[in-house]
Symmetry: C2
Subunit: 213 residues, 2 copies
Amino acid sequence: MKKNVSLEKRKTFRHGDLRNALVTAGLEMARAGGPNAVILREATRQAGVAPNAAYRHFAGQAELLDAVRSACLSRVAAAIEDEMKKHKAGRNPQAFARKSLHAVGMGYLGFAMREPGMFRTAFSVPPPVHSPDPANTASMGLNPFQLLSLALDRMQESGLLNRKDRKGAEYLAWSTVHGLALLALEGPLHKMPREMVLALGERLVVMVERGLS
Amino acid sequence: MKKNVSLEKRKTFRHGDLRNALVTAGLEMARAGGPNAVILREATRQAGVAPNAAYRHFAGQAELLDAVRSACLSRVAAAIEDEMKKHKAGRNPQAFARKSLHAVGMGYLGFAMREPGMFRTAFSVPPPVHSPDPANTASMGLNPFQLLSLALDRMQESGLLNRKDRKGAEYLAWSTVHGLALLALEGPLHKMPREMVLALGERLVVMVERGLS
DNA sequence: ATCGAAAAGTGAACACTGTCCACAAATGCC
DNA sequence: GGCATTTGTGGACAGTGTTCACTTTTCGAT
């Protein structure tokens, strides 16, 4: 649909939506080859525009990459939300809390296995820390970090986690799944089959549950 | 300063040790800027040699990077060994096992904080999995993965870990510290002060200990 | 409605990268 | 001593990010 934009030479001198076109092209490159495959000139080529035109919308390639990364982060958040929405709050808050934490971890890992390029792009270079940047968020309006915090809050509220252990628990839980994801994607475990990675992920989440408190 | 080597033009037409010189230069670039800062032409420049000369020793930039990564991995292993050697086996095997595992984790994290560029380079792109490649090893002849296995073996032998849970425990333990390291180095936590990262690391290792079994 | 400033695109250039080719010099081996 | 093999040179090419001067379009104030 919107690819035609790149093929048929546009009639208007102005492109009209160049910034979005560039980000979209960059996103596709990130999907295919990770962060350092997002090439500025190639994006302009796909948008049917001269290379320098990009500089009217981005200060440079780094800024384009930033925009692409935001888009990738948003996808990660969406994947986590999808996983969380599979379980509704029932009459057992502790079971719900466990399921929530589990969903965050496995949603994260599942996306990493499903979309390696986007995942690697999302967490490659310095993104601002807990930015409430609306571009990073999915429908619930929370980024991956905040979704994790939500799950941990449920753990605490349901009595599975005391206040002492709650502090900084985000970082501990996040580290585990993030580490496994990167070891499997671009680390020494990159040959391990995905289902085995996900199985390890299950054990990992259990370990976190047990080890946090 | 150190680059006199590059400044004084060599008398011999042959360089004599070009391969090593290139790896050394590459290692310094990796230290300063991570994996994609190791530039082939720059290495030849520092070695005082024409760019193409590198192709007599490496098939291309990727292969040079591979050699540099091996060197980095070796440093990681050395850091872990240093940490492990701080504790000798006493009369309490369980305490020794715990200290060993702790040392592996903190040696790993400590190196990551101390030498971010080298660490990121060591684990950036696909290295062969558990290669007994002697280039990746330090004085004990073990790479980081094997050092971790050793520590976990001690856990099992001393009865802290049963056979069921021992299987694949390397990957679970490794994931945690690796994840924290990368989140802190090139992820959303890159602004967190190092001592706080190390403090989190302590909690993380404890969590692993408790959560594994 | 006009006209002028600002926005958005073009074209040509530069420095830098990795890589390949044909050739020259040094080494070592018989 | 002569000769093949290694090792380095010089010159070239495509691809990248980036900048500068210029043109075209749009839009808002008069």
